[in-house]
């Protein structure tokens, strides 16, 4: 079943948070999901050790680069979705994981530093596509974007990606307190209550928009604008965070 890889050679781009959100959203539909934590800092392993995860969501820790392929294969055999959270460096582990991916998500914050590293990941994907004559779907995901302001830098990066022909998720993961509370409280987004964070409903919608778009890319379906999918998912600015 599908292997979805989160890759960027820059640390702090939002790989672990977005991987965690996608895994939780998919598990919430009833699917069996395995997350492979291949970041040496083990953020998701730590999170899982504190969280009471649902039975259909499992986090396994990657040993090293020599074991990642076997771990992906085993997880793909036993789960309906495999999510791989990679380390924030340009390593052979990243190459291995991308070679098995049905979707490569490349998280980028609105900075040129992130954009440069994202371009490296795209280059690796395209080199593998060329070398192995295999289509590897990928898309840039903007993370921690401001709900109120669309800065010039972000606009410039978006334009650069567009000109380079990089596919970009229509959904952006906004800067949200609820996304931080997942790790500080040791819970999935669906286990958070108003005592942990405000605006949880909007955070869930934001996360599920991203998950839905990911699934459509994996299925080879056209990705529609989030606000054309029906009522209730339009992502309003997160005013509470702004305040």
């Amino acid at each position: 079943m599908p292997v979805i890889v989160f890759a960027s050679s820059k640390g702090g781009a939002g790989k672990s948070t977005s991987a965690c959100l996608l895994a939780s959203a998919l598990a919430n539909t009833g699917a069996n999901v395995t997350v492979i934590d291949a970041d040496p800092n083990k953020p998701l392993t730590r999170w899982a050790s504190h969280a009471k995860l649902p039975d259909n969501l499992k986090v396994v820790t990657n040993g090293d680069e020599s074991t990642i392929l076997a771990e992906i294969k085993e997880a793909a055999t036993n789960s309906e979705f495999v999510i791989v959270d990679l380390e924030g460096v340009a390593s052979v582990t990243v190459s291995y994981a991308i070679s098995r991916a049905n979707l490569v998500v490349i998280p980028v914050q609105g900075s040129h530093l992130d954009a440069v590293e994202a371009a490296k990941a795209v280059r690796l994907v395209r080199n593998q596509e060329e070398a192995f004559e295999r289509k590897i779907p990928f898309a840039i995901l903007f993370t921690r974007t401001s709900p109120a302001i669309r800065g010039r830098t972000l606009a410039s990066i978006e334009q650069t990606f567009k000109e380079a022909g990089y596919p970009v998720f229509t959904t952006q993961l906004l800067e949200r307190e609820a996304f931080k509370a997942i790790f500080s409280c040791g819970k999935t987004l669906y286990q958070l209550t108003s005592s942990h964070s405000s605006n949880i409903e909007k955070a869930v919608q934001n996360s599920e928009q991203f998950a839905l778009e990911s699934i459509r890319i994996v299925r080879g379906l056209p990705v529609e604008r989030p606000d054309s999918l029906g009522q209730g998912q339009h992502d309003e600015p997160n005013k509470e965070v702004v305040a």
């Binding site: 009833g30 291995y96 869930v204």
Partner: protein, 127 residues
């Protein structure tokens, strides 16, 4: 979790999409059999800077070669003996002057002086 009543339409759409994808289980494009071999993947990655982070232990031969490369530089002339000769101040001064003008060590001046003396006198030297 999945059985809970949904109030969020987006969650229903997502669940529907995931269910359709799950029903397609066994789709060839999700099988791992046709993926490229690890060594080929590694080679492609290394071309764009995605390299191994595993530490490697050098073999005995590599270690030995590295040690040999680090041998200190040493050049020898073969002139490693000392002799004491009684001579006049003038002779000693003359030897100093010739060595300085020719920019040669005194041992080399002695060697060349002896060669010239042998040539000049024509004496036979055994060995």
């Amino acid at each position: 979790m999945a059985e809970e009543k949904r109030l969020n339409p987006l969650a229903d759409i997502l669940a529907s999409e995931v269910a359709e994808l799950r029903q397609g289980r066994g789709d060839a494009k999700y099988e791992n059999e046709d993926f490229p071999a690890a060594d080929k993947v590694k080679a492609v990655g290394e071309k764009v800077g995605f390299v191994s982070r595993d530490s490697t232990v050098p073999t005995q031969d590599e270690t030995q070669a590295a040690v040999e490369l680090r041998k200190p530089y040493r050049w020898t002339t073969g002139r490693n003996r000392t002799i004491t000769i009684r001579a006049s101040d003038e002779t000693i001064s003359l030897l100093d002057e010739v060595a300085t003008k020719l920019k040669l060590q005194k041992g080399v001046v002695l060697e060349r002086a002896l060669e010239a003396f042998i040539r000049e006198t024509g004496i036979e030297i055994s060995g």
